[in-house]
Amino acid sequence: MEEVTYIDAIREAQHDLLASDERVFIYGQDVGDFGGAFKATQGLKSLYPDRVIDSPISEDAMIGLAVGASIEGMRPIVEMQFADFSSVGFNQIVNQAGTQFYRTGVPAPITVRLPSGGTPGSGPFHSQMMESVYAYYPGLVIVTPATVADAYSMLVDAVALDDPVLYCEHKFLYRWLKSDRLSDDDEKLPIGQARIVRAGKHATVVAYSAMVHEALRAADLLAEEGWEIEVVDLRSVKPLDTDTIVASVARTGRLLAVGEAFPWGGVTSEIVSRVTNDGFHLLDAPPQRLNSRDTPVPYHPNLWEAHRPTLESIAAAIRNLLRL
């Protein structure tokens, strides 16, 4: 079989959803004949002309429209051109979509695709990770697929869910990450369940999205030094699979939580907080966090490399954790 990339999986999932479910439509800037800024909707407009719709540059109204359409029984997928621009639609995401079911009993099953994370040379406004921001708000589901198979199956699952989902897809993985399979039924897990992607006994590294791959490379490096590092891919940050994390820490006694988001609060803090609460007695060392630096995401590749966690900085953090 031909190799499929992470972005292929996103495109194929949308294709299959449009084909199998008449309630599904795609709404976003340049998603029509142009095929999307990252070509995630390439060719879909010609197949489903009525259900692949170009929007004006109106992130607030795009989400509002999606919520309205969902009330009427549709399953909209909104493509934010970059996750960064979802800040303009923030109100509609957290206050309209996030509160709808709680306040009225009528679900708001929308899926918002957020092309997330840094690539070299993208700068402060085309690189952000938004998952921690949205995870703060009740009523939202936040998924962060790290593999080709998860990119496909979690998008399909997100659309099937009766709740609003922020689907955080990592731009760095789009064409870099390849697989020989689009999906893997044997390994398919539901939203809300983490996956242990590498077994180990000396320390647990919890990561998500592109950081899973950096963590795996760091674990490879540490293996050469004789350490067996367990790596947990969260898959979804909300719900957060505390059980899998705590069970892993029970085996290893040490925790490092890695995220590409800004360091103040957020997903890695939540992980450390929960492990400290639920598994304090399991810890042989203080739990550690590694995030990006507390500055806007820098433009120049030299600065960008040093802004986010990398193979080297994760490896250094693990070595430090093992010495504690």
Partner: protein, 370 residues
Amino acid sequence: MQREFRDASSGPVKHVANRLLHALNQDVPQVERESKSTDMSETWEDHLRRTFRSMITARTLESKLASLYKAGKIVGGVYIGPGQEAVSASIGSCLTWNRDIFGALIRDQGGRTAFGEPILDATRSYLGSVKGPSKGRDGNIHRGHPAQGLPAMISHLGAMVSVVAGMLLARRLQGRLDGIVGAVSVGDGASSTGSFHEGINLAAVERLPLVVVLTNNQFAYSTPTDRQFRCRSLVDRAIGYGIPGYEVDGTDLLASLEVISKAVTEARQGGGPQLVVANLLRLSGHGEHDDGSYVPDEIRNSALGRDCMEVAEHQLLQAGFVTEAELESWKNEAAEQVQAAVAQAQQEPSPDPYTDDWSVYASPELAEDC
């Protein structure tokens, strides 16, 4: 402060002549009796009567709610719409429950009642009954029945414009948009938000059957219109969106219903979005906690400050559409309905934090214990 009303101008914006501005002091012109509503089985006279009855119910209900607030019986604030009933009820009475869509806002009791929302929804929400549409999870004017075409507003102004547009777009995709209209209510304050602009522009791009009724009640909380916008009239915004615009004296039921009915009919018949700007004065504070003392007497005493209830009563009596005896019985009936709705809501239990399931997800398996 009072803006000059103008007659029909060139271009897509149509200013409706304010021929009834001084109706109270003049003979009411001959009113056409043929139907202006889309339901051809109903005469114009009946449509007016139905609209006015909803106004009476709304005014009666909100007066009662204001009294209950002063008596400390209300959970949270009370936000009423005296002076806006003619415009609001005109929107609601042009729409059909469970078929059309109405994005009601803060001062839309008239429209809600005319559209078909039971007044029990209001008393239950305000009095904190667990049987209210939000079960106590939200209250006052944030209530709705989204599945029946009445989405539940959030407080962020302008945000419901795109939601109603989305409901209409869904109907189009489902092949059931024919003859359907969505109306959304906004105010002069909302017109300054990005959300309002994005929503109305998007609806224009999609050419959706959306009627945006912008009630300029001269104050957003305490902020007067000269701190809100600079344009001559908000109806001029329609030109920028490339949609028809209408301006009407919102204190005048006959004019308001005529203009809103026309806009709704245009939208139903494929004319795309319509903007109606209704000028009037909010005859209350922002909420019942606010005495509105910042409203200058000049505005209160101007034509904008007329009470639409008095104008409408006068108009309908003069036109012979209603008799004094009928009016009396309508008012009595409204008072009885309100009394019953208050009494019922007061007898009902409040939400119980120990039995509420606290579910925020429609998919219960997603719930986390944290």
